[in-house]
Each structure stands twice: as structure tokens, then as C-alpha cells.
């Protein structure tokens, strides 16, 4: 019954992220609202999954219908759905205070920043639920790139240096 819900959590956040920079100029409050609603919906969905995993047992979804050695498997265990719930609800709470913090930012920058936050949330959720090593690697790259971008978004000149340092250390870790 919940077979598509784990993938839909990730994909909904991704689609919101793709649309955010396109509409930010004309509908700035609306984009804030939709982004926050998407993260909140992801939190609700993960709560549903947590309840399912606790009552019925773990859920293993074969994405695209291909079984585990051939396709990608997504695992919903009590632990993974709990971590997703924690991540998404923290981001949802943080995003409530975002419009007030970013009043003097230009619209375009707000759009890119929101996109990166949504991508980071989606990638963290997806990485937690993934049950496939290569899938974890790809999600890890999204996490890394979006967090470097968020770090370097500040105006101070140390921010770029910090992003660069994170890039080198992160890459050496991967390889």
C-alpha cells in the first residue's frame, strides 16, 4: 500500500526544488509557503512510514519494479524512517523563520538558497532510506554539493575558503 511513498518523499522535494528558482521573482511569499509545505508533507509521510514500520514490520521497496541485485532497493525500517522524520521536521521548523531572516536578500539569491536547502533535505532523506551502495554515493554527492553551496552563500570572504576546504576534504574522503 505504501510502496511508492518512500520514493515520493524524495521526488516531491526534488520537484519543488526544481521549480523554486523559476517562480521566486513574482511569487516570493508563495514559494516560501510551498517549499515549507513540501517539507512538512515529507515529515508527515515519514511519520506514516514510521508507524507502518513499527506495526507491520520493515518495508523493502524495489524502485521501478526491479528486485534488489538488479535494481535499486529502498529500505524502510523503524530506524531509517525515524531519522527521516527527524531531518524533515527540523528543516520544516527552520524554514518557518527563513522569510524573516532573508528580508534584505535579492529574490534570485533566495530562490537558489531555497533550492539548495530543499535538495539537501531530499538527499539526506534519500540517503537514509537507500539500501544500495551506489545510490548512497549519488545521494552523498548531492548532499556534499548543496552543503558547500550553502556554506559559500555568505558574503564574508572566509565563506568561500571554508567551502573550498570542505570540498577538498570531502573529495579525498570519497576516493
Amino acid at each position: 500500500m505504501f510502496d511508492n511513498l518512500p520514493v515520493l518523499i524524495v521526488v516531491t522535494l526534488l520537484m519543488t526544488a526544481f521549480l523554486a528558482p523559476l517562480f521566486i521573482k513574482k511569487f516570493r511569499p508563495l514559494v516560501y509557503g510551498v517549499a515549507n509545505a513540501a517539507v512538512a508533507a515529507a515529515a508527515c509521510a515519514s511519520a506514516v512510514l514510521l508507524r507502518y514500520a513499527l506495526h507491520t514490520g520493515p518495508l523493502y521497496v524495489a524502485v521501478g519494479g526491479w528486485e534488489a541485485p538488479w535494481g535499486i532497493e529502498v529500505a524502510i525500517t523503524p530506524l531509517s524512517s525515524f531519522v527521516v522524520l527527524v531531518v524533515t521536521s527540523i528543516v520544516a521548523l527552520v524554514m518557518v523563520s527563513m522569510p524573516r531572516e532573508q528580508v534584505d536578500w535579492p529574490s534570485q539569491k533566495v530562490g537558489w538558497y531555497l533550492t539548495l536547502v530543499l535538495l539537501l533535505t531530499a538527499a539526506l532523506a534519500g540517503m537514509t532510506m537507500a539500501n544500495d551502495l551506489f545510490n548512497i554515493y549519488v545521494f552523498f554527492e548531492v548532499t556534499a554539493l548543496s552543503s558547500f553551496g550553502i556554506v559559500a552563500a555568505k558574503k564574508e570572504r572566509n565563506a568561500a575558503d571554508a567551502g573550498q576546504g570542505g570540498y577538498f576534504e570531502g573529495n579525498v574522503d570519497i576516493e
Binding site: D3, L8, F18, A62
Partner: protein, 140 residues
């Protein structure tokens, strides 16, 4: 602005490079290549255009705003194709299992959603290469 020979030869070659890129995108399921390789070829042809004819001339033909929008919609296209399987009552990103006809293997219009996805990825990669170059070399 480079000299006459470079400009003329580039003008002569560009359509063929882009045609080859589109060929690689369209035949991704039959021959080596696919969305990423073909999109990269089309994108690199636009990079060549910028190198030879200058940034302003390319910005007039393909504005930065347009390439960003195409980029966003290319990624959205992939996710939207994934919903086809969902709407037919099966799993996300399903191709044959969702009851889509695969056609005759080896023909150009075969393999169901693979062609559709490859086309979207190709357009997206081409516009990403162009947008990245715009962002990196534009002056403030």
C-alpha cells in the same frame, strides 16, 4: 575576435557538430552514447560558438534566463516521466511493467520511455553546460 579562417570554418562545422550531438542523443538506445554524451556534444558546440564569436553574440541567441529555464524543466521532465508508471497503477519509473509497448528492439522508436528520458536528459545536459559557462565567465 579571431581571424577569418577560424570564423568561417567554425560556421561551417557547427551545424554538423550539433547534428551529430542530436544523432547521439536519439540513438542512445541503439549505439554508444546517450543523453549525457550527446548533450555534452551539443553543449560543447555552443561553447565553441562562444569562443569564436564572443559571449554577447551567444547571449543574444540563447539568453541566460532561457538556458536556466530549459535546465530546470529538463530535470523536471525526468521526474514527470517517472510518474507515468505511477499513474498506470504500478511503481515509480517503471517502463515495461507499466504496460508501455517496447516496440521492435533495434528500431529507432523502440524501448518505450527510454527514448523519452534520454531526449530530456540530452537537452538538460546541453543547457547545463551552457549555463555553467555563462555563470563562470560573465563579468559582474
Amino acid at each position: 575576435m579571431p581571424d577569418l579562417i577560424i570564423r568561417e570554418i567554425t560556421a561551417l562545422l557547427l551545424p554538423f557538430i550539433q547534428m551529430y550531438g542530436i544523432y547521439v542523443i536519439m540513438h542512445g538506445h541503439l549505439s554508444p552514447g546517450g543523453g549525457f554524451a550527446g548533450g555534452m556534444i551539443v553543449g560543447v558546440s555552443l561553447v565553441l560558438y562562444i569562443l569564436v564569436f564572443g559571449l554577447d553574440s551567444c547571449l543574444r541567441k540563447v539568453p541566460h534566463r532561457l538556458s536556466s529555464i530549459v535546465e530546470s524543466f529538463g530535470t523536471l521532465w525526468y521526474a514527470a516521466v517517472g510518474f507515468v508508471g505511477l499513474l498506470r497503477g504500478t511503481s515509480f519509473l517503471m517502463n515495461k511493467g507499466a504496460g508501455i509497448s517496447l516496440g521492435t528492439p533495434g528500431k529507432l522508436f523502440s524501448s518505450g520511455l527510454i527514448v523519452v528520458i534520454t531526449l530530456g536528459v540530452g537537452i538538460k545536459v546541453a543547457s547545463t553546460v551552457l549555463s555553467l559557462l555563462y555563470t563562470l565567465i560573465e563579468e559582474d
